[in-house]
Symmetry: C2
Subunit: 362 residues, 2 copies
DNA sequence: AATCAATTCGTGTGCGCACACAAAGGTACA
DNA sequence: TGTACCTTTGTGTGCGCACACGAATTGATT
């Protein structure tokens, strides 16, 4: 009597106990019509009583449904952060391959107004079952999310969040908190309240990203509260004129030879690190963000002291998992998922590369 | 023609292409006997050519196999680290519930010689398909792992590793590296090369764990290489006489009022943190290990500055996933899995609690 | 040529579920 | 009472796979 093995409860078990057929139970479970009130009540009661948990694998096997996921990211060429996010998503998709999940990644130009909405339109035409996107500004993003909501298509924000647009979930890092934390570490490095320079990336007269701004805000808040004696300078680079970077640094450090400590709130700390190596200046204390290959190289060379990582691979993976759980397992998902704020130096970097896993001998 | 949909390849597809029946393909895939050399070659060829990937969910559904996993841990009462490991394992088991995986956790007294082997014997009697264990000393552990190897039962080490016993895989943290990293951070806090005290836990005249010893070694190595000017003191507590802890600290700090910086390489930093709070001494710089509730409380209160975490929940989860992939998916698994060495302060602690996920408003 | 055993292979059934279809029951009206 | 129609319910089939069983083929032996 395999019925008695105290194993998992099947639809059949429910049907027997309720005195109906499996078809009726199936109809109740899926909320389909054609069930009398009395049968419905009885089945629902027994479902709850026996705490029925469907075998999602058998279910997926039988239904043979296909899921199309769409993803909308800013155009990136060679940017490790987004590459890692994509890799994480692809990896998760491949682990769910038997559920017939397909992922279609599309891009928009984050610096061109209207580009997001246009890409969003194309994305909608692909008729996705779920969407992941790195939002643009609220105004740019809104038209797309409204259409998604109309069509009842769940969407997730990655990287940065716009609460008012009500995504199913958010995956990313709290920029403000990470800046706050960075300040704690930097203030330890800045002995005797020595001055600190903030290196910034400017695009079109403004900071290149919201993240950059939020991190700087968090940073300044910590400094103001805990070590107001530290004087903060700013040094701006221009995205459109990278050829000027070296000259900008030259001029700045000629004017401020006393400054020996700096931080970037974008991912391009290697600009400074590589410069320091080039002019052979040692001991400049530098912090930055993201494990770009060039940043890691500087970290190992000693020209960057600390990096704060966002774990992009995990972010990408988690987004797919989230849609999987929502669409297929029909589980509740958490609305906010803030990645840990991890501090990385040359002493622990090895344990963060290769997705937290090492295969060689330590 | 659903055959042409460029979908996943099924056994049936292989059978048609090889001009045999699904039964024969099945026999080849599972290496069962009763297949002629010619058929075998043909099928194997086409399997490779079409890159056949079985649908593991359908496979599990059809085979209806049960898997018993066993786990052997040191006895712990109220120790958050082990509790979190168990929680991680249970969580992973529940996500694989449809694969008929059961987990049986058993315990041994890590301080009693012979206890591990005895518990190992009991564990073997439960006839497990896979094993996870926190090893004791090499000698104590060896008899059990030898029997496992004889019976071809895969086993994973968690927390600490004994390479010579050849586990299928290892999950844990590199103790030495984490001590090395801790030293980098502590040396930033110890201004002007001020002295540092190492708080230690002694059991039966020796350090209470290998981890503690390895971390301290890594720590001392960094200090020696990078800031030999820092003088290191030791202060020993005795596991068996916790009532003496306060007196021990009193005497020590009476003798060394100049010491304002300390570190523990065990998980009990709260002993010092709570003492500092009790005597209302502020500004003592303290580092420790593991996110025990009492440690977190001290962290938030400001009596512990930094904690290095081992992510026990993830460790537990990963162990189960590893056995799952090995036993059921028959994938290759990585032999060494070192968890990231994460630095935690009151500024980023919120993003590490609750398994990296927050649901409230930040 | 007949018998038997061993080898090699194909078919059928079921895993738990989704869904199409058919059957049964009920109601209204002629 | 019969017919048409709607509501409610049960049954059958297939998803991709594992495995038991039995059929076909071959070779050896009498």
């Amino acid at each position: 009597m395999r019925e008695n093995k105290s194993e998992r409860i099947r639809i059949k078990d429910i049907a027997i106990k309720a005195g109906v057929s499996v078809g009726t139970v199936d109809r109740v479970i899926h909320g389909r019509s054609g069930v009398s009130e009395s049968s419905k009540k009885k089945v629902e009661e027994i479902l709850k009583q026996m705490n029925y948990q469907p075998n999602m694998y058998a279910s997926a096997l039988a239904s043979n449904k296909k899921y199309n996921l769409a993803c909308l990211l800013p155009i990136h060429t060679q940017e490790d952060y987004w590459i890692d996010i994509e890799a994480g998503m692809e990896h998760a998709v491949s682990t769910y391959k038997d559920f017939n999940i397909r992922l279609n990644i599309m891009y928009y130009d984050q610096y061109e107004s209207g580009a997001f909405a246009e890409a969003g339109k194309k994305m909608l035409e692909s008729n996705p079952d779920g969407v992941i996107m790195a939002p643009s500004s609220e105004d740019e993003t809104k038209s797309t999310t409204l259409q998604l909501q109309e069509r009842n298509i769940p969407f997730i924000f990655i990287d940065s969040n716009i609460r008012s647009l009500n995504p199913l979930s958010f995956y990313g890092q709290s920029s403000h908190s990470s800046g706050y934390f960075a300040a704690r570490i930097l203030s330890l490095m800045a002995e005797h309240n020595e001055p600190v320079v903030i290196f910034r990336l400017i695009y079109g007269g403004r900071l290149g990203s919201n993240q950059q701004r939020n991190r700087e805000e968090g940073f300044r808040e910590y400094i103001k509260n805990n070590c107001p004696g530290i004087k903060l300078y700013e040094l701006d680079f221009y995205v459109k004129n990278p050829e000027n970077n070296e000259r900008i640094m030259e001029e700045f450090f000629a004017k401020h030879p006393e400054i020996n400590c700096g931080i970037t709130f974008n991912s391009k700390a290697y600009i400074i690190g590589e410069y320091m190596q080039k002019i052979n200046r040692k001991g400049f204390k530098l912090m930055g963000y993201d494990l770009l290959r060039r940043n890691v190289k500087c970290l190992k060379a000693g020209t960057i002291d600390f990096i704060i990582a966002q774990q992009p691979t995990e972010q990408g993976q988690s987004c797919i998992e989230c849609l999987f759980e929502h669409l297929i397992l029909k589980k509740e998902v958490k609305p906010y998922n803030y990645m840990p704020i991890t501090l990385i130096s040359r002493e622990n970097i090895d344990f963060y590369l290769d997705a937290h896993v090492r295969t060689n001998n330590i």
